[in-house]
Subunit: 376 residues, 2 copies
């Protein structure tokens, strides 16, 4: 597992804690037993961790809570991670900054939120027409992904573990049908990140709107469309009440990976077995999130359709044009940015191989099952 | 996560260990510190764990080694799991028995190896035309799978955790082409378990042959075909040298889950945080196996094809007939076996829902990527 090779360079926990001036910290095991070997084996640690996502998104936010619970359970309560929502400490998009400067020891956030600062971080989560959830996880652990992303994060004084995946996201709710590429011209679409940049090349006008403001904007027609996550979360936000057409697939997020990010000095200050516990808890929380979404999305989709949402697929000319625009973006950015080039070269090679093998077998099975629905 | 609700009923570790008379056991933490609270927090435990698979299958066997390493790393070396291959302690198909009777505390094996004793155990790994890897994991944690399988295992004095998945397996190597259902009549096919039972209904004569004897049997024509795992493992066994046609998909194993199984008394005797560490290590090892296969199968497939293997898909009439035979088998068995019925009802309902949602989005994304190969 490639993540085991992460270089440990700054074991200066105490200086970090002193600098950060937090209520959190590492203290000797309680009680009168002072034997260093024992104290070392299970030190009491309290960390703070903030999510980039509101707690109303119970699956995404719940992944962080699950991670924190797993760590507590594995350490018999000695390693406590206090969880916070956006705004409690810093804003949702400032999680990496807060981790970097030691305001908090940990965050739960997707690295692609920070691609504006360092474009290579997009690959940590996935890029338009990238890998699906399983392929992304394989690239992360066996394709060089973790090393590449953590090399980018190291100068930011941070390190990341894979900790969650949404699976392929939906394309979102649209107030009118998209029948061809021409229908995208001037479309005001609430879509962020790299997906927005690719869509802009097709004539879309990407909009950045805070979650709480999306519904009224869509209702009034200030925006024409919105993408969010998938049926389970989209249903809660009620977009189907004001925009009828529900598009698939969300080709800009084919398997969006989230991350547990840690202040590098805080991480390096942990005993090795606490680092191992964090690694395994992150993998378990990763699976919790994906498995939960896979279990709750079908019912949510049924409910959305029963309430009038109409499923649509993006036209092929839209998909093809977006693919071309995405690849052009990657090549242009790689020509200008060495870290991005390194990540793209690795990711593209992995994608090429995955797309050779996947259709032969996995997809042949999935397609037969989809076509027959198991004759259920 | 449903696995957290497992009932702990027999906290009789010491009596088990005494009864089993093993070299393994729980001892007080070394040194002169006798404080019970500390000793309890990190007791030294040594367990023995045997795999059902030979160590030549480095990914499957390696999953058990990875699991054991993760447990050691998370406990600072206090919980040691010694790993063994088939024959070291018991035979490869006797792992569950050995766990049940306390010969070993742990095993790495798929529960479907034991479906002959209790048919419901087939669903723990997956059944013909069942769930893919991600769906299986979701059913396990959120669809009732873990509870159902562990209720079946409890009277056998065992408990299981998901610990590995192969992804969809290949259909295997055939000496001659299969162009229609008629070509299956009398075909001597090395295929085990439920897949063999389903194929027998199509006229196939399933063969049970030990791994080391497959190659010569295929070379001499004693058998006509063999299925094993996927390109990475199949390449090592050299079947392509004596059977030209490589078929997809292995519809009897669409996402085969493996398990870490534990003697129930040994499990219940562990401190809760050691149980948590085992749970998280199993999830992490699960991901290690699937991610590793996804990273090594493409190159193996390329090598197989370069060495003359010809890829083929099973004809649609074979797939359809096998699906009908599988569903008939499930209904017949459910009518006779209450535990099987309970598992099948749960699994089938989950499959129905999964096959409603999967094609809408995940498969739309995968198929577009497969068709365009990302224009890479």
């Amino acid at each position: 597992m490639s993540a085991d090779t992460t270089t440990v360079t700054h074991p200066s926990r105490r200086s970090f804690l002193a600098k950060a001036g937090l209520g959190a910290g590492v203290v000797a095991a309680a009680g009168s037993v002072a034997a260093p070997a024992i104290a070392q084996s299970a030190p009491q640690v309290t960390w703070r961790m903030q999510s980039s996502f509101p707690n109303s998104l119970d699956t995404i936010f719940g992944t962080m809570e699950t991670f924190a619970r797993f760590v507590s359970e594995a350490t018999d309560g000695n390693f406590t991670i206090q969880t916070f929502k956006p705004g409690d400490i810093v804003g949702g998009l400032q999680v990496l900054d807060a981790v970097s400067n030691g305001t908090i020891e940990a965050g739960h956030t997707p690295t692609y939120f920070y691609f504006g600062r360092e474009p290579a971080l997009g690959f940590g989560t996935g890029v338009p027409f990238g890998l699906n959830a399983r392929q992304q996880h394989s690239w992360w652990h066996f394709g060089g992904g973790a090393e590449i992303i953590n090399e980018v994060l190291a100068p930011m004084n941070a390190i990341s573990l894979a900790c969650g995946n949404s699976g392929a996201q939906m394309g979102g709710f649209f107030r009118r049908e998209i029948n061809s590429l021409a229908d995208l011209k001037g479309l005001k679409f609430r879509i962020g990140g790299l997906g927005g940049q690719v869509m802009a090349r097709l004539g879309v006008v990407p909009q950045q709107i805070a979650p709480g403001d999306i519904y009224p904007a869509l209702e009034r027609g200030t925006i024409d469309a919105v993408e969010f996550v998938g049926p389970y979360d989209d249903l809660k936000l009620g977009f189907h009440e004001v925009a009828k057409y529900y598009y698939a697939p969300g080709f800009w997020e084919g398997g969006a990976m989230l991350h547990a990010v840690f202040n590098l000095e805080a991480w390096n200050g942990l005993p090795k077995h606490y680092q191992a516990i964090l690694r395994h808890a992150a993998e378990a929380a990763n699976n919790w999130m994906l498995a939960k979404y896979d279990s709750v999305n079908p019912d949510a989709l049924k409910e959305l359709v029963s309430k009038g949402a109409e499923l649509r697929y993006f036209p092929q000319d839209v998909m093809e044009a977006a693919l071309s625009a995405a690849n052009a973006y990657y090549e242009e950015t790689a020509a200008q940015n060495e870290a991005f080039k390194r990540a793209w070269d690795s990711y593209r090679a992995f994608r090429d191989d995955a797309l050779l093998w996947w259709p032969v077998n996995e997809l042949a099975f999935d397609n037969f099952m989809a076509r027959t629905r198991g004759r259920g």
